[in-house]
Symmetry: C2
Subunit: 137 residues, 2 copies
DNA sequence: GCCAATTTGTGCGTATGTATT
DNA sequence: GAATACATACGCACAAATTGG
């Protein structure tokens, strides 16, 4: 994977694309560490900010999670809990605010479900570890 | 709203918090432009990168949308289309890849629904303009 | 059409702090 | 303590898009 500084596509997006391809192909497996910022800087001859932007892009997609002092790791697909809902239940989804992220203990790049029950209550669920299934009752 | 450089909370998060409060209170209404990067730099005495990080944070939350050459604007709440689903339908949600974003024409900070029908087909819907409702048929 | 001003986008460099190993 | 790795924050320059005169 090589960066072309003359391409129309910005360097950080090319870089992100390369790492994304490694993740999607399975060359970088879930739980595995991706190359560090310094690795990317040295191997591709870009500035650190460029490498950081590429990493931030993948984090916002939920593909990786970053831990200070350790590195960025391919997101481990959560074993999804199936939440059963009955007729009249309404589902929305959006990105959480930082407060909501803290409250639910979820990392960047993970949306939340807003589940509204027929009675009017509402609950928020992290969308990476829940799927909603419509059942009779 | 003032930035305290000695706070434990990084300047860019303080800045984002200030703007977020303006949006949530309605002082900055949907469709309205938020202060430009230069505005934030001058009024709060921070570096441009700090202002940009604050803005990027709000964009990732889906609160604003940015247009090059124009500025960042408070996201206009989409009139949500209600999609009716029957028993056996399964709903997941996640952030889209850039390719999926392009394909669906959606901005940053907007998750997508993955709707799996009982027959096995699957469709992707932008989560900011759709809500899923479980009905009989 | 043109030019200037404004605003965001990309990219580089540097420094320091914090967390982990 | 040392080495590694990410986080924050400043500076600078130029490119690209839009707007207004």
């Amino acid at each position: 994977m090589t960066i072309d500084p003359y391409s129309d596509i910005p360097a950080y997006k090319q870089l992100a694309g390369g790492v994304r391809a490694l993740i999607e192909s399975g060359d970088l497996a879930p739980g595995q560490r991706i190359p560090s910022e310094s690795d990317l800087v040295q191997r591709h001859g870009v500035a650190r900010e460029t490498a950081r932007r590429a990493i931030a892009l993948l984090r916002a997609e939920g593909l990786i999670q970053t831990i200070q002092g350790q590195g960025s790791f391919v997101t481990d697909p959560q074993e999804a809990v199936t939440v059963r809902c009955r007729k009249g239940t309404e589902i929305a989804a959006r990105m959480p605010s930082p407060d909501e992220r803290r409250a639910l203990g979820i990392p960047e790049g993970v949306p939340i479900f807003i589940v509204r029950y027929p009675e009017g209550q509402e609950s928020k669920l992290r969308a990476d570890s829940n799927v909603i299934l419509f059942t009779e009752e």
